[in-house]
Symmetry: C2
Subunit: 354 residues, 2 copies
């Protein structure tokens, strides 16, 4: 740290992304898709587009906002596009909580929420998950502060029902409720339809998971026009050209090929359920994950041991040393062959250690 960093930021503990190894591994640690982007994305990133990179990208991101809006039966004015959904979450928490403001989220959820609270000087209430790692929707009602909930939640994979989500939104109409639907395509109970009904709802989504574009960095927020205008006010005061032309073209092409992504999503759900069953046969107990990852503990072998042994065998999963979940592994649902390799490796490790 230099002597020049402002006191507000000296104690910041930044977010730790999942490991990226530079040797060949089976990578099941950051919930990426095993499938490549749609062939339409490749068509869109052509020579003409690359030549046009000499010109600035569209700061209004009009084309992509319209494409996303069409997909959800909304208008472009209901869509904010960010450089990944992290960008959308950052502007939202910055703008709707404000420095010295208040927000709440589950104590076990996306690890970035507390980091945003820290960098933007927001007082954070972390509401404990229930003993079974579920969220009790009642605990998020009438909070009088900004509410942030990932649905399905990560790393648990557990989802709230649409009526529970609506109860939270309806009971907090003086504050913004941010529903982070990063994994919703694997669960299929989105609350996006409520955007037309509630002025305080912001739904946050991403192209990184179901749409195979993690490396392209495109996320979006869906909300009523006034909230979107607020986010644009912040964006145009921070980084007006936050989306580059290739990301805009790639995401526009991707959302136009939801048939391709729908098929992939269905395959991932199928592999998820099958893998869950096979893991249960070798002594694992998992949550009822509605995401593209499993959250599993073994009845005898500690999660940290499994994590390290898998790593030695070139299989990367995510382990959190955090209390209450340190007995579990978060395992991305990869391709069928990735899952075959995972289950074989786990069988071998468990046999060796028993």
């Amino acid at each position: 740290m230099s002597n020049f960093l402002a006191p507000d930021y000296k104690s910041l503990v930044p977010y730790t992304p999942g490991e990226q190894l530079n040797y060949k591994v089976i990578k099941l640690n950051t919930n990426e898709s095993p499938f490549p982007p749609s062939p339409k994305v490749k068509e869109a990133i052509n020579g003409e587009l690359i030549d046009s990179l000499r010109l600035y990208s569209d700061p209004e991101v009009k084309h992509l906002r319209k494409a996303i809006a069409d997909e959800f039966g909304l208008e472009a004015e209901n869509v904010f596009v960010g450089n990944g959904s992290d960008d959308v979450l950052a502007f939202s928490i910055m703008g709707f909580c404000g420095r010295g403001g208040e927000m709440c989220c589950p104590d076990i959820s996306y690890g970035f929420y507390p980091v945003y609270a820290d960098i933007f000087g927001v007082n954070l209430e972390e509401i404990p998950l229930e003993a079974d790692l579920s969220i009790d929707a009642k605990k998020y009602c009438n909070k009088g502060k900004t509410v942030v909930i990932a649905n399905p939640n990560a790393p648990t994979g557990l989802a709230l029902d649409p009526d529970e989500i609506e109860m939270i939104i309806a009971s907090n109409q003086n504050n913004v409720v941010i529903i982070d639907e990063a994994y919703m395509d694997f669960c299929k109970t989105s609350c996006v339809a409520l955007v037309k009904k509630y002025k305080n709802l912001l739904v946050c989504r991403t192209f990184s998971k179901s749409h195979s574009l993690a490396g392209m960095r495109v996320g979006y927020g869906l909300a009523n026009k006034e909230l979107i205008d607020d986010l644009n006010r912040l964006k145009f005061s921070f980084n007006p050209y936050n989306m580059n032309s290739v990301a805009i073209a790639a995401a526009s092409a991707a959302i136009a090929d939801n048939e391709y992504y729908g098929r992939n999503t269905d395959k991932i759900i199928e592999i998820r359920e099958k893998t869950k069953e096979r893991l249960s046969e070798i002594g694992f107990e998992g949550t009822d994950s509605k995401s593209n990852f499993l959250f599993e503990k073994h009845k005898t072998v500690p999660a940290e041991t499994l994590y390290n042994e898998l790593r030695k065998r070139g299989i990367l999963v995510r382990y959190f040393s955090k209390p209450r979940i340190s007995d579990r592994l978060r395992i991305t649902v990869g391709s069928q062959s990735d899952m075959d390799a995972l289950v074989s490796a786990l069988e071998e490790i468990i046999k060796e250690l028993s």
Copy 2:
């Protein structure tokens, strides 16, 4: 504006980017390059890269940081990469001024500096330019606050000498001095060599101008390791994956082809000088611009009239209604044929109005 936006941000006046028209124009309003990116950029953005977009990009941006460092005889630890140089400037002003902190910059300069001060709650001292629109370096010495200077300055195009820049840095060693060299390739008196000498210097640069990648959004900061660590601390608390994989690959390929960009830059300088002379022959008086734009006033026709008349003829230049510069046009140096069209149109307009 919604009822939910925090009071801190209710009076924000966002930055206004240059107009983007969606019909065919000669676009001389946002200082883009008339040349396409290097053919090496096209090679780098291939099918394999696009397939790999299912995976997250490298949050450390290691490959590109090394490539940039090599170009300047620095180490990767001296390089911070941002989603455009706006991203670098935002994190720098946020982190090194701090909320309630102090910064100064010229009163006529990049219009975004005051917006950053506003969004990050920084007290801004705007130091007036001299009557000839130059910067008096002495006025930036011993300031006891963060100093931000664009060199060459925009929209004037005027540059400070390297020894004047060093005097400013040396006299402000308790504060960060940010030298924004967005246009420095057209001036060729960079202060980057001083990064090894001064701990308080941050040089900000971009691929948007000389490197024909405005639409790809890549900027970078060069400084000693401690300042770069601070910027990374903020980045990893705001948007760790701020650079997408295509932007990283494109900029890495671009910086490896500086021969191509060097030739383009020399051509633009040549066209700049020639155009300046032709404009002077039809009654313009310009600054001694060391950038890829001219800053010109006409002896009889008001700048706003010229701006509107050019616009009617499909030629877009930038006009600022701000006091002291409302008599001038900022005109990007485009291709030779763009400049021929510009001079012909101006001749016609001036003739009609005289």
